[in-house]
């Protein structure tokens, strides 16, 4: 059994699986149920001045039979008084002293407001703080959440105010609703953040009802944008984690969030630089018990790899994440069809013929039986045929040995630079 314990900027937990700040961490009852189920930590639903919520609040995107491929919510932060939450945090921490409880916080961008809530929350024994600079709806209209998280100066200043009084590690949770998340991550580090977490939810409108023309969800016939999360956002989140992890100016641990649904997703985030992960939608979809499979799967994975501690794989894939200009232009793969497995559905031919490079031929053998064959010299190795193929193993992408040396775009431009002429047009 591998050691699954993590230490994220001084916050220790028995495993890397935390519940994200969201409906699953609304109360002591829920967080204690989660810890009983095996979760290593929980980021308490955001504390601040108690709000008023609407009904309805959630909507989900189902795609081709996959329920909750994406999830949208317009729920705000806690609607319970701070004292009630603090009492339950205290009781939960007392019962689970070795589990991580992080308090998510959101107040107006005023120094005295941050000082007050930090002091009161730390008094009950939280292991760390997470500053919610990410919620995109509702609170943002009041100048909090994503509204302040989109302004690097406000991220830095508010982080600094918190650090003036905080005694526990401070995690800054970032919004993805920004062109370049590394800018606000750098601002958080400048402000003294001990760690950053990402991503919060993405601005979204789940849909429009074709009969009533109401938005989905709607509140008495009116809608407002919500925050999108769930499996659909995982690639966006993973990229943002990777971009921050490879940025030398963001030299603090990362807590990865965004569509993590199983142990494999968690490993991907950890390899791409996250020290631990936070989960919400998968728990809302399937319940707290999903963590059992996550722990078992992660344990088996590490054992099979001969890795003794989860901390040993943090960031191991980061050096492989680069810029397009540093990719080898002379590396080549081509598609190869295994006709023993292929069912001749022709999806690869159609996709290649209509939307790619027209290099999959429909042929007939000597018995008149149809088969598909890739003209490898014309194949650009785009992967599309393998992606649309419904049969596992029917199309393999095969590496082709190249006579030419490795050459990136940046190297190419450098090699031809000395021959470049300053001509206006030809």
């Amino acid at each position: 059994m591998a050691d699954l314990r993590i230490n994220l900027a001084g916050i220790k937990s028995p495993n890397p699986f935390w519940l994200a700040s969201a409906p699953p961490t609304n109360s002591g009852y829920q967080v204690q149920r989660a810890f009983d189920a095996g979760w290593g930590g929980a980021v308490w639903k955001t504390l601040g001045e108690p709000i008023i919520n609407t009904t309805s609040r959630f909507a989900a995107l189902s795609f081709n039979g996959q329920r909750v491929a994406g999830f949208n919510n317009i729920e705000l932060i806690t609607d319970r008084p701070l004292e009630v939450n603090l009492k339950e945090i205290y009781e939960t921490k007392k019962r689970f002293p070795n589990h991580a409880i992080i308090a998510s916080l959101m107040v107006e961008p005023k120094q005295e407001k941050w000082h007050e809530i930090v002091k009161r929350v730390e008094e009950v024994g939280v292991d760390g703080l997470e500053l919610n600079f990410g919620c995109p709806h509702g609170m943002a209209e009041r100048g909090m959440g994503a509204a302040s998280g989109q302004v690097p100066e406000l991220v830095e200043k508010q982080t600094y105010w918190v650090k003036e009084v905080a005694k526990t590690p401070v995690i800054v949770k970032l919004t993805p609703n920004i062109t370049d998340i590394t800018v606000t991550a750098e601002a958080a580090v400048q402000g003294g953040a001990d760690a950053v977490s990402m991503i919060n939810t993405i601005n979204s409108l789940m849909g429009v009802d074709l009969d009533t023309w109401n938005t989905i969800p709607h509140v008495a016939g009116k809608g407002a944008h919500g925050g999108y999360c769930g499996p659909a956002v995982k690639p966006i989140a993973l990229n943002m984690v990777g971009e921050c992890a490879r940025n030398p100016l963001i030299n603090v641990p990362i807590s990865g969030i965004g569509g993590i649904s199983n142990w494999q997703d968690a490993v991907e985030f950890i390899l791409m630089g996250a020290t631990g992960v936070q989960v919400c939608t998968a728990a809302m979809h399937h319940g707290f018990s999903i963590v059992e499979d996550m722990i078992d799967g992660l344990n088996n994975y590490l054992d099979e790899k001969g890795i003794t501690s989860i901390m040993d794989i943090v960031g191991k894939a980061v050096p492989k994440y680069s810029d397009w200009g540093d990719l080898d232009l002379n590396y080549k793969v081509v598609a190869r069809i295994n006709n023993d497995v292929c069912i001749n559905c022709n999806k690869c031919h159609i996709s290649c013929e209509d939307t790619s490079h027209q290099c999959i031929d429909m042929l007939k053998n000597e018995k008149g039986e149809p088969y598909l064959k890739v003209r490898e010299e014309d194949c650009v190795g785009c992967n599309l045929c393998a992606i649309v193929c419904p049969v596992e193993g029917a199309i393999n992408m095969v590496e082709m040995k190249q006579p030419l040396p490795s050459m990136t775009w940046n190297e190419r431009q450098s090699s031809i630079a000395r021959f470049k002429m300053d001509k206006v047009a030809k």
């Binding site: 232009l329 002379n330 490079h357 003209r375 010299e377 014309d378 030419l404 040396p405 050459m407 190297e411 190419r412 090699s415 031809i416 021959f419 470049k420 002429m421 001509k423 047009a425 030809k426």
Partner: protein
Amino acid sequence: MSEHMQYLEEKRKIDSYFDKGYQIVSIFENLSGTFVDFVTSHDAGEREIVELQLLTAEARKYIASKLIVAN
């Protein structure tokens, strides 16, 4: 002609110029592709400049790969 055949033809021309002792004097790239000016080497008497327009991406990679190998 398939793009691969077009590339092979452009590659053949590039190799041919190098084989004949031509050297690259300029490379110009615009919306129409890459234009490579070859010149006969100085000791071959009168200098002759020929221009080759590369239309395929593979040839645009190839010409730069040749330069990298040469260096």
